[in-house]
């Protein structure tokens, strides 16, 4: 499974966070294989929650999390909530393996805001998955 959150800015300067969910299938791994990483194959898109309609938006920050499809939902939520305590985003882009997960975080914001932005993007995914996200504009979800 790939969970992605992107903070985007539209050409008209509307901002928002778009969340996407992809599935890989029932695979088991000890460490995320390269062919499951987003640049190789993100998987099948099964859900998208859009605050700003995509197409020509600038991506200001993003968070990608790859984890097994079979991961329990409570574990997914706890990992999302714990992410900011696990990752120290000193660099503009951070990539790491965390147990069975793979994390990639990139942002254009200042170093002082990076931890908050990481928490915000993982928070958006968490709130979306729990049905609490304030989705604005056109939206589509499962």
């Amino acid at each position: 499974m790939l969970l992605t959150a992107q903070r985007v800015v539209s050409p008209g300067r509307a901002t928002g966070v778009n969340v996407y969910q992809f599935l890989h299938g029932p695979y088991v791994w000890g460490r995320v294989p390269d062919e499951f990483l987003p640049d190789s194959n993100p998987g099948e898109l099964v859900g998208q929650w859009l605050e700003v309609p995509p197409g020509e938006n600038k991506i200001a920050s993003y968070l990608d999390i790859v984890l097994p499809d079979e991961t329990s939902s409570i574990d997914v939520l706890q990992r999302l909530a714990s992410l900011k305590y696990v990752v120290q985003p000193v660099e503009p882009q951070t990539i790491l393996y965390w147990d069975l997960c793979w994390i990639r975080f990139g942002t254009t914001v200042d170093v002082r805001m990076r931890a908050t932005e990481l928490g915000a993007l993982s928070g958006h995914i968490l709130l979306t998955l729990t049905g609490r996200a304030p989705v604005r504009g056109a939206g589509q979800s499962l």
């Binding site: 599935l23 062919e35 099964v46 200001a60 329990s72």
Partner: protein, 144 residues
């Protein structure tokens, strides 16, 4: 000690334990010394509990001074947290992240006019038109 102070202490423990939901025990079965000083920690699987106790030790003395006696910690595994306390756990995790979501939204709104750099340009994606799939067919077939 007021309820607000006790809740603030529980929140500090939660932050120390990487954002796990924490609360003072409610409706604990049985009567024992320290019932009102019992902390429940959720989403703590057995393999993590030793490490969590190590982190908690940094706060223990301060906590015990504040609540007037030894603090008892009860761990709930992820499975039991989901089975018995899912409403509380889900809400606590949502509350945990809401602060960052709101703060980043505000900060970003003030930065957007000066945003020059972009990491990329997005494009529309589409889900399958018929029934949703269960995974990518492009990946090598190595079933679990």
């Amino acid at each position: 000690m007021s309820i607000i102070d006790r809740d603030a202490l529980a929140l500090r423990v939660s932050e120390t334990l990487s954002g796990r939901p924490v609360r003072w025990a409610k409706n604990v079965v049985g009567d024992y010394d320290g019932r009102d000083r019992t902390l429940e920690v959720f989403n703590a699987d057995p393999r993590e509990q030793r490490e969590l106790l190590r982190k908690f030790r940094l706060l223990r003395k301060e906590m015990e001074t504040a609540v007037g006696g030894p603090v008892i910690v009860i761990f709930h595994t992820r499975e039991e947290s989901a089975r018995l306390y899912s409403d509380f756990v889900t809400k606590a995790l949502a509350d945990e992240v809401t602060g960052d979501v709101v703060q980043a939204q505000r900060t970003f709104a003030s930065l957007v006019s000066v945003l020059q750099a972009a990491l990329g340009i997005d494009r529309p994606l589409h889900t399958r038109a018929t029934v949703p799939g269960t995974g990518s067919t492009a990946l090598p077939r190595r079933a679990a």
